[in-house]
Subunit: 108 residues, 2 copies
DNA sequence: CAAGCGACTTACAAAAAGTAAGTTGCAAAC
DNA sequence: GTTTGCAACTTACTTTTTGTAAGTCGCTTG
């Protein structure tokens, strides 16, 4: 396989992931959803520094990509659960690799 | 291990990686450097859509994190090679996982 | 000797993210 | 029984990042 082909085959799907993960907070939001479903307010607490506005924006995008599902629990009080879909959960090995890499190769 | 602890242990190094990869183009630039060292102009061609300005910015950041090295080749003509360091190259398994995930779980 | 390449740099516009306050529906506190 | 407060957003506005285009400098090629 030539270098150009390697670049192509690596590049195309990779650039699609990076369109998602290349936005601020997306990766951390997904990681925070890994342990299981959470309410909006729990998510916000789990992702220190993110604002309501952006958290909502990221969730909307992830729902649009079928990586996260949204379930309204009619109240009162009304609550909303967010949960990874199968596709979203499948990102776990990749995020684990990134975490391992950071621990070994990224300065604190 | 409690869910809160899991969140912590996954979260801290992950959020450091995402500070890097969460910026536009960073992931694709790193992936493009994987096959070997390249000149600035080759890199630009290898990352369609990126501008000189941002490519330069990303490279400067990556050099600052010791993930990429820069070598000036005195001309004329003067050229500059960019190459992954050991730390940068170590990201390969993670990027491969992301690529594999995109192929299986991300809509084109 | 005009035009172009390589590697940037600069100046300016558009898009994304940050910040803060507002909204709606209810419920416990005073 | 009115104020306070939470949950889940939404809106308006500021700041930061990106995008776009042109400019620079040394040299080379037609």
């Amino acid at each position: 396989m030539s270098s150009a082909q390697a670049c192509e085959s690596l590049g195309e799907p990779l650039s699609r992931v990076m369109t998602l993960l290349g936005k601020r907070w997306t990766g951390v939001v997904l990681a925070t959803l890994m342990p299981g479903s959470v309410y909006f307010s729990e998510l916000r607490r789990g992702v220190p520094g993110i604002s309501d506005r952006v958290l909502n924006e990221r969730l909307t995008e992830l729902i649009g990509e079928n990586l996260v599902s949204r379930t309204v629990i009619e109240g009162p009080p009304l609550r909303v659960r967010y949960e990874l879909t199968e596709h979203g959960y499948a990102l776990r090995p990749a995020l684990d690799q990134l975490t391992a890499w950071a621990q070994e190769h990224l300065a604190p």
